[in-house]
């Protein structure tokens, strides 16, 4: 078995309002940082997993993203996957 590390990003779909992002955007301008056109909040999930090969690791991550990590009605996901050596 080989070890893999995945960094999964979950984002609200562009058509879904992100009120928390809007609140942070407004705080950013109160901090004095101007010129922020948009600010949206997502989630980062880091997974360390075992798999025989990259293809299997990818399948596991795809399944997790599709069925658990993201709700595809409102969210999109993408991920980086790499093999790690102890």
């Amino acid at each position: 078995m080989n070890q893999f590390e995945a960094k999964v990003s979950i984002r609200l779909r562009p058509s879904v309002l992100d009120p928390a992002g809007e609140a942070i955007k407004s705080a950013a301008s109160k901090l004095g940082v101007e010129g922020i056109n948009s600010l949206r909040i997502g989630k980062l999930i880091e997974v360390n997993l075992e798999a025989k090969e990259e293809k299997e690791a990818k399948e596991k991550i795809e399944l997790l993203c599709d069925r658990l990590f993201a709700n595809k009605v409102i969210e999109d996901f993408d991920y980086d996957l790499k093999e790690v050596n102890e």
Binding site: S15, V16, L17, P19, L68, V73, I74
Partner: protein, 220 residues
Amino acid sequence: MSNFTVGIVVFPGSNCDRDMLWALEGCLGIKTKFIWHESSDISGVDSIVLPGGFSYGDYLRCGAVARFSPLINSLDDFVKTGRRVIGICNGFQILTESGFLPGALTTNKNLDFICNDCELEIITSKGSWFNSSNNKINLPIAHGEGRYFCDEDTFKELSDNDLIALRYLSNPNGSSYDIAGVINKEGNVLGLMPHPERACDSTLGGNDGLFTLKSLIEFS
């Protein structure tokens, strides 16, 4: 009293399960049974309530973890027999997460946790969940993540099939198309953010929730 039994599912973090017991048994004389979410044996109940609360701490997304419980796994067969299921608040979130109902529920537009009475318009008569002699009812809401979201295609499907159960008259949370509750195509699954179990005694502010809870046993 008939032996009709309503199963009230208890998840870690459910907090409206006892309110539901009070409303069903105390106000309506309907027999109930708590069912721990780890159980997949629902053979002894005639309809099921997924109550409000914060199942699994609402981690990841509301209802996202609860949908993998053994009980939710066995719910599909239960629903296919035509028996009735109602999901209220967190229960509604679980029903959308697990695909029994379309759409999704997410953070309120104004980020507030809203605890208020809401005037609602009854849209569908399908499933006979609401008293058709009334157009409007008042039910309380209590949620931070009750903004119903659906895209245009889903809305069209909901409208064309008469699946919108309730609409807010004054949209409190930014829900798409003012939707407060939806049903499945067969009409035996209802999900809604407002709490009918908290509107079952006029001394507590109203009894517009009685009809919906009573319909758990009177539908055939």
